[in-house]
Symmetry: C2
Subunit: 386 residues, 2 copies
């Protein structure tokens, strides 16, 4: 017997309660029974997105919703600014270019957050830029970008702020309406504690106005059509029925925990991850602006990063992510979003300690776990039990 533990930045573990909800007999999507589940899910999604606007559910990965943001709001030749500080920032620009938009790139060192001043400079120099494309949490570099400051730059211009919140919504406080984010995108297999297969997207009124003049071709990802269908408690095309049944269950869990508590839990888990790693003498990839969803850590000199992550996964049964692109083999990423709590983090840290020792990197076993404990205990009642 070898128990398995999943601590990767998506798919994340699915709660037993949600698995059970999805295991019932299939139901038809054009029935009052499904409409009720769908409508309730849409309402609960608005709370998590912190918006008064509709949140549309697409049957696709998060990348599908990123594509929808571009194809539904712009036309070929339109200029956009892509913040490229990681694999997903790069994807924003690639999608835009695929649809004939002109992309201004703001390059950011992997591991750093974008400087709002650099974005302001680019916007001032190119007044035709119609959107800033950003990640709230750049999963590949475990960085949190300054979305509130970026929104300050776009809100008085004829320019949208479009945010990939795939590993941020339901993890960190990124209040869409309050800050003035125009498009927010997310995906099911992250904080929503679901299997992959659903993407979510919400548009501000300012963004809906852009949709009126968009000329990019689209069919499957048609946000105006989906919005009309939401009013009828349905979707334009056959939705992923079982995943939406699971979505309601996971959203109810988020509501029961309370959004502030959800954010506090993620902040605590992230702090525990960082403190434990530095206690072990390891170096963080993003010490300055760390994501609450996942923590990137440099593999120590002399340790083969690929083999290290593989050993944890195949021998210890603990799955984390390695690095992507030029960080491949150089970092590992502990994910701590979704259905993750204190003892999942303890498991992660202990597995890292055991693997480091196995790979001949000298550490004091238990020191990382102790540092994690010191943070994680704050999540419990402060009174000493009688």
């Amino acid at each position: 017997m070898k128990k398995k533990y999943l601590l990767a930045p998506g798919p994340t573990p699915v709660p037993e309660r949600t698995l059970l909800a999805m295991s019932g007999p299939m139901i038809h999507h054009r029935t009052p029974q499904f409409s009720e589940i769908f409508a309730e899910s849409c309402e609960l999604l608005k709370d998590v997105f912190q918006t008064k606007n509709d949140v549309m559910i697409l049957s696709a990965s998060g990348t599908g919703a990123m594509e929808a943001s571009i194809t539904n709001l712009f036309s070929p030749g339109d200029e956009v600014l892509a913040i490229n500080g990681g694999k997903f920032g790069e994807r924003w620009g690639q999608i835009s270019e695929a649809y004939g938009l002109t992309v201004h790139w703001v390059k950011v060192e992997w591991g750093d957050a974008v400087k709002p001043a650099a974005v302001k400079e680019a916007l001032d120099a190119n007044p035709n830029i119609k959107a800033v494309l950003a990640q709230a949490s750049e999963t590949s570099t475990t960085v949190q970008h300054p979305i509130e400051e970026l929104a300050q730059l776009t809100k008085d211009r004829d320019c949208l702020l479009i945010v990939d919140g795939i590993t941020a919504v339901g993890v960190a406080d990124v209040p869409m309406d309050k800050w003035g984010v125009d498009v927010m995108v997310s995906g099911s297999q992250k904080a929503f504690m679901l299997p992959s297969g659903l993407a979510f997207i919400s548009l501000s009124d300012k963004a809906w106005a852009f949709a009126e003049t968009s000329k990019c071709p689209k069919y499957y990802f048609n946000l105006k059509k989906e919005k009309k269908n939401i009013a009828k408690q349905t979707t334009a095309y056959t939705p992923a029925v079982s995943l939406i049944i699971g979505l309601r269950e996971s959203l109810l869990m988020i509501k029961e925990e309370g959004l502030d508590n959800v954010f506090a839990r993620h902040a605590r888990l992230a702090e525990a991850a960082r403190n434990s790693m530095t206690a072990l003498g390891l170096t963080l990839l993003a010490p300055e602006n760390p994501s609450f969803a996942t923590t990137g850590v440099y593999v120590p000199e002399g340790v083969n990063g690929g083999a290290f992550v593989k050993y944890m996964r195949d021998e210890l049964g603990v799955t984390m992510a390695g690095g992507q692109d030029h960080l491949k083999g150089k970092i590992f990423r502990i994910a701590h979003l979704g259905y993750i709590d204190t003892f999942d983090m303890i498991t992660a840290v202990a597995a890292i300690e055991m693997a480091l020792t196995k790979f001949g990197h000298s550490i004091e076993a238990g020191k990382g776990v102790a540092a994690a404990q010191a943070v994680l205990i704050k999540g419990y009642k402060s009174a000493t039990p009688a």
Copy 2:
């Protein structure tokens, strides 16, 4: 207590075995564990598609794979011919127009199959037509189109035959390679006995050559990228992990039953549906070229079609589909594809008899059930039990 029965043309019932397979702990998609499931599913899909070429799995509804057929093979201005004999034939043309293609429409009366001579005439008159877009089974009108004959028309021209096999693959014998179908599309929530959320698509060598010159924009639905990833036992973007785990289970069930037996079962169920309805004196929508997936039946004069389908669903617990667009309220559709067997069909026919009586339409109760029995018994051993 009211037990529920699902006899709609998708989503179809999901076998308990597949539900259980999907209920396990979530696994990461970039692991050997998932790659093995994915690769096995891709191989098994080839058997069901009856092709030697790769079958790509997209996280989307079937409409997403229809869109991929257009955007990955053509360029704006290209001419295609859409066979418009129902809601889904119409969709082929709409998708093509959305991407700037020029559509030649061959209109077919709802309930009829297309006449190959009409297609030949259009192809002869318009030698620039690059593709014929058809449904193998047009779900909205319960018609089977003559795919083998259409393939004869395209195979010696510089023209592709693109087939929506969403309710045909795994239902009726539509051998892709043998007949010369160039693109075949299907969806998870039909014969594949899965929840909605996956689409499948396979291309002939002739179609892959078209992909080399296609200029339509695309990003999320990128078939060349997916094909490259299949070789690495993975997908371009995060796949719908749990649905693919279920897919393998359902494909194993199809393999165990044997594809010929699967086709024979669907043919038998469809014959039982037709015979039972005519025995009750009802009129079929498509008596000439009926689909094996679903049988359309006119609601008798004096019966409110919408109320009739609603009564079966909400009172009797038996969900069938009504008509779409101009057939709304005029027909009902008994679906008999996927995880459906003898006594599901008996249930459907009995429910129809009970509802007809309830709505004051005079029939001889049991007569339809008897007609179904006479067909369905042929699926069992012929020897009389000792």
